[in-house]
Each structure stands twice: as C-alpha cells, then as structure tokens.
C-alpha cells in the first residue's frame, strides 16, 4: 500500500525532474559558460573520461559573466521592463474586453451556453501562427481594416498599425482572450442568482448590486484570468516579432535573436534564466490565489 502511494506521489515529481529540472539545469549550465566557435557553440563541455581533474576543471570555468553582461547592456533590462509593461497593459485590456463577454455568457439562457463556450474555444482549432498571420492581413497598410476604413470615408490615408506596439496589443489581447473569459465565466456561472435578488431586495440598484456582489464574487476568476494572460504574454515571442516589427522591445524576441541571429547561446540562456526567475513571482501568486479559492469553496 505504501509502495503504491510512494509511486503515485513520485510520478509527478519524476516528471518535473525529467522535463523541467534537468533542462533547466542544462540551460543554467550554458548560461554560466562562454561562447565559442564550435559545436555546440559554448565552452566548457563536460568530459567525464577525464576523471576528477577534468570535472574540477569544468566547474572552475563556469562564471556569472553573462549575468553581469545583462546588467551592463541596457538593451536587456529595457526589454524586460518593456515586456512587463506590454504584458501588464495587454492583460488589463484583455480584462476589459473579456469580463463583459464572460458576464454576457453567464447571463445567457442555459441552452445557449455550450454554443457560446464553443465559440470562445473555436480559435484554438486553427494554428496559432496562422491566426497571427491573419492579423497581418487585417492590420497592414493594405489590410482589410484600412481598406474598410478608407471605403467608409472615415480616413483618407491608411493607418499605420502594423509594426507598432498597438499591433502587439491587438495580437496579445486576441490570442489570450479565451484564457481571460473562461475563468471569469466559471466564477460568474457559479454565482447564485438569488444573491443579486437579495441585494436588490435590500435596496441596491442593478448597478450597485453588480458592484457590491457580482464583482467581488467573481474576483478569483478575474485574478486567475489575469495571471493566465500575464504569464505567457510576458515571454511572448511570436506576436511581437510578427506584428511588432523592430519597434517593439520584448524579452522573448531578444532571446530568440540571441539564440539564432547571434548564436550566443550562453547570453540567451542567461536571458532565459532571468525571465524564468521573473515569472516565478506571478506564478507563485497565482498558485496562492487558486489555493485560497479552493479553501473558500470548501
């Protein structure tokens, strides 16, 4: 019986060890190495045949040079900062767009809900890349949006949206909207309608009942949704590189360029390690929120 329990508990840990910790240690090791014109493009590499001396020599060559470098070149911390800002602003916009949608879904008749839910998830059925490319078709100077606005006569020169931060916001909000809608919808759907009636009975208008009852009770969903958008948006790379052009500074893009354009694996790895450390804070907060919510439900 104990063996069974040990196995059950050990499995997720083994999984984490194999697919998170080991790769992380490899990346960390690369981050502590130096670039080299070789394959793989860094040094030192561990040569176990050399015995103890070689191993000692290997660890001796590791240093924090690349991390120091990250603080010296302002490109990096500016990218981190800009990423946090873009992720935060787009999370906020996603919330503003997503909450009313989730609210409308929760208010809709029961028989409509599965369909609406389907519609929210539907975009996942096409490739993420194709959807981002589609936005190029919409937002570019000759894109549908500009054509439409020109046709209606609202503007007479095309708007430049492509390759600006605006396009990145559009892309992130569009892509991550379902992650905002679903947890908020889940919270609102559970909400007992008689609570709203009770609030009205005690003298609330519709609006103040929403403000005093609906909104506070959907807060766990709002928080969950915000994290689910913020965390992936922070490291986002495809959207800024396809829609944001050279103008937008995001750490995911910098990371990609270090790896593939500069072939500077050690610096790229250092960037990745710092990004991970940055992400740990919101992830831990997110976990706390989920835990609190579960406790409250019991």
């Amino acid at each position: 019986m104990n063996l069974r329990r040990v196995t059950l508990i050990a499995l997720p840990y083994l999984w984490l060890l194999g697919f998170f910790l080991v790769p992380f240690l490899i990346v960390l090791k690369i981050a502590l190495s130096d670039t080299a014109v070789a394959i793989p493009p860094y040094t030192p590499t561990l040569d176990l045949s050399g015995g103890w001396a070689a191993i000692r020599d290997f660890f001796g060559q590791l240093d924090f040079e690349n991390f120091t470098w990250l603080t010296e070149d302002e490109l990096y911390w500016k990218s981190y900062l800009s990423s946090v800002r873009i992720a935060a602003i787009s999370t906020f916009i996603t919330l503003l767009v997503g909450y009313p949608i989730a609210y409308a879904m929760a208010q809709s008749p029961d028989e409509w809900r599965p369909t609406l839910m389907m519609l929210v998830i539907l975009p996942f059925w096409t490739s993420f890349l194709i959807r981002v490319y589609a936005w190029i078709g919409i937002l570019s100077n000759e894109g549908f949006l500009n054509q439409f606005l020109l046709w209606t006569g609202l503007i007479d020169t095309p708007l430049t949206i492509m390759n600006t931060t605006t396009a990145v916001y559009v892309g992130i909000v569009y892509t991550y909207l379902p992650f905002m809608i679903l947890p908020i919808y889940a919270a609102l759907e559970k909400l007992d309608g008689s609570l709203i009636e009770a609030a009205e009975d005690l003298g609330c208008s519709r609006l103040s009942a929403f403000w005093l009852v609906t909104l506070p009770l959907s807060r766990p969903g709002v928080i969950a949704g915000c994290f689910l958008v913020f965390i992936p948006a922070l490291g986002e790379f495809v959207i800024p590189s396809l829609l944001g052009g050279s103008q937008t500074l995001m750490i995911g893009k910098v990371l990609w360029e270090e790896f593939f354009s500069n072939r500077d694996w050690p610096v790229a790895s250092a960037v990745a390690v710092v990004l991970l450390l940055l992400l740990i804070i919101p992830i831990v907060l997110f976990q706390k929120n989920q835990q609190r919510q579960q406790e409250a439900e019991q």
Binding site: D192, S194, L195, E197, A198, A199, E200, D201, L202, G203, C204, S205, S208, L212, V213, P216, L217, A296
Partner: protein, 379 residues
C-alpha cells in the same frame, strides 16, 4: 395551535373598518401558458403572521416573489398600503424577503451582511452600528459577528438571514420556508423566536411553509392553496376545526371522510346515510343542506372515542373491528373497520401507562362521537 395569550382580540380581518396592508386584486400570474397564480384575491392585515400552506408547485413562492417585486402579475393589481406596487422595483419597496436558501453574501462577514441593507439607505454610521448590534443581540449572534457565512452553522446562517431581513424594519417581511433546514428542536425554538420578534417589532410576516404544524404554531391566519388558488383562509383553529372542503380537511392533519346522503333531522341537524343497514350519522351542518344531497362527513381521529361499550353521552355510535394499532408514545392510533366496510381511524391519548393495551387486533369495539365532532362538507 398555540393561539397563546388570552388577549385573543387580534382579528383585524373581522373588522370592516380595518384597511389591509396587502391586497391582491384578481391577480393572475402566467409563465408562458402555465398559470401559476389563478385570479387571486386576498387581504393581509398589519401585524399579521400570515402563513401560506399548500403542496409543492401551488404558487406560494410565486406569490412572495410578486410581493417582493421579482415577478410582475400578468393580470390584476397588488396594493401595499393602498399603493399599486406594480411599477415599483424591488429596491424601492418597503418589503424584505428572507430567501429559502438564505442568500447570504459569502464575501461579507455576518455583521456586514446584516448592515448591507442599512448602508444602502445613507443612514449615518453610528446608527447603522447600533442597529446591527441590536439585530445581533436579538438573534443571539454577537459571538459570530466577525465570521463569514461559511464559518457558521446552518442554524446560525438562518438567523443571520433573518437578522438581515429584519434590520431595515420593513413594513412587510416575507419568509420563504425559513425553517425548513433546521432540526425539530431548533425549529420550534426559532418559531417562538419569530413570534417574539413579531410581537416586539410589529412587522407583518408572510411565511411559506411545507410544515402544517409550523403554520398552526406561528400563524394568525393560514391560507391553504392549491393549483394557484387560495382554497381557504382562516385562523389555524378555524382551518382545523371547520375546513370548507374535503381538500382542506385532508391537507391539514388526519381526517376520516365518510360520504353519504343527508336527510333533515330535528333541531337543524341532519342524518347522513352512508351505508346500507348502518345507523346514519347525526351531524350539525354549518350550511343548509337539501334533503338527499350528497355530503362528506369529515371527522378528526381524536374526536372519536374507542371503548368496549358505546358512550351514551355522545350522539353517534358504531361498532368497529380493530385492524391495526399504531402506538406513538403519547397517543395511539387505531385503524378500524366498520361493519359497512368503511375504514376509520381513531386516536386516544395514552393517559395511563400501557392502559390501552387491553385493545388488540381483531377486537370488536364501540366508536362514539358527538353530533358536533365532525364537519359536513358539500363539494
């Protein structure tokens, strides 16, 4: 049936001068093609404790929700204090409802739940605090003021819901099955608490209940409903002793229904012939009955005396054979069969310990009851 104090003068419904607090005027409520409330006309007076009783789905909650403002009548008008409340939204009515599910706000403490309604009225802080602590004291919740609803017991939650609906001192308080979830002891205790609160605050209560004993205990008047119609409105004693129909007699308590044909007898009495060869039942009708009319005679089991010999101080006697005995501690119920095949139950209190043990299955006994023990119903 605790029509407690001797000051039994509270009967505004008998006073033609008295203006009702609530007046349903030909109110009909339809959901699609389904009629939930059917042409209801009803007056409820100030300081009443009015109970709605009826089978599931007969429209009790719908009635309450119309009073609170969550449903609008399809036809007819509802007047509260003489004002047509049709266009008034729930938050503008001096009516508070205690929801069956309590509907406590889970994100607020007990204290804040109770203060919720008061804060909407722009009352100043200190008077809100005073009122809240008064409510906490009244419902004996002082110790739990800072807790959230999920940190207190079901009975305490129910008291919070009650305190919250009472806090604004509404003209009218609607209680939808408020005590359904409580155990018997706590329920009885709370019933008396409710009556006490009602006496202190003078609020008018309308209470929905599935529990007829509860209705009998707390109510000044009871309305028995069926299929969206009110069948009878009367005091608990009136409903019990003089039901106006077989439906009401059957719905409240146990009853024997004996059907037969009425024939006039001396002194305004009638004889009900219910079976070939059986002695007709002598009964006192409340309304004139035509000769030969079909009537139902309704008599409560406790009004029938079971003995070895007929009791000659009572007008009616019949032989019966005991087919079953249910011993309930304080009382015993005898199920008997009359020679005509008619089944009757009778109830005797067990005044002496094991005294009635001398009746047993298949015993031939005598049943006796007076001419006023039962009700003559025509329907």
């Amino acid at each position: 049936m605790a029509q407690s104090k001797p000051q039994n003068v509270f009967a505004p419904w008998n006073d033609p001068q008295e203006k009702p607090l609530i007046r349903f005027q030909n109110v009909t409520k339809r959901f699609g093609t389904f009629t939930a409330i059917d042409n209801l006309t009803l007056d409820i007076y100030r300081r009443e404790f009015f109970a709605l009783l009826g089978p599931s789905g007969c429209g009790k909650t719908t009635m309450m929700r119309m009073l609170a403002g969550f449903e609008t009548p399809t036809e007819g008008t509802i007047l509260i204090d003489g004002v047509d409340v049709g266009p008034i939204p729930p938050n503008k009515r001096a009516v508070n409802m205690m929801f069956q599910s309590y509907a406590l706000f889970p994100h607020l403490t007990v204290e804040d739940n109770i203060a919720f309604g008061l804060r909407r009225d722009k009352t100043d802080r200190s008077s809100i605090a005073d009122r809240v602590s008064e409510m906490l004291r009244l419902t004996r919740l002082e110790k739990f003021a800072k807790r959230k609803p999920h940190q207190i017991s079901g009975g305490q939650r129910q008291r919070v819901a009650l305190a919250r609906s009472l806090a604004k001192a509404p003209k009218l308080l609607l209680l939808d099955e408020p005590l359904g979830a409580l155990d018997r002891k706590l329920r009885e205790q709370t019933q008396f608490e409710l009556m006490d609160i009602q006496e202190k605050t003078g609020t008018t209560f309308v209470i929905v209940t599935h529990d007829q004993e509860e209705a009998m205990t707390v109510a000044s008047r009871v309305a028995v409903m069926d299929h969206g119609k009110v069948i009878q409105v009367d005091t608990p004693a009136g409903i019990y002793e003089t039901p106006n129909s077989v439906y009401v007699a059957d719905f409240i308590g146990d009853v024997n229904i004996i059907r037969g044909k009425a024939h006039p007898a001396d002194g305004g009495l009638i004889r009900i012939h219910y079976a070939e060869g059986a002695e007709p039942i002598l009964a006192t009708p409340t309304q004139p009955v035509a000769a030969g009319q079909d009537v139902a005679f309704a008599i409560r089991p406790e009004k029938i005396v079971v003995a070895w010999e007929p009791d000659h101080s009572r007008a009616n006697h019949a032989r019966g054979k005991i087919i079953d005995i249910a011993y309930l501690g304080n009382i015993s119920t005898y199920h008997l069969e009359l020679p005509s095949g008619q089944k009757v139950s009778a109830q005797m209190t067990n005044a002496r310990r094991l005294a009635r043990r001398d009746f047993t299955w298949d015993d031939e006994v005598w049943l006796s009851w007076s001419d006023t023990a039962g009700v003559v119903l025509q329907d």
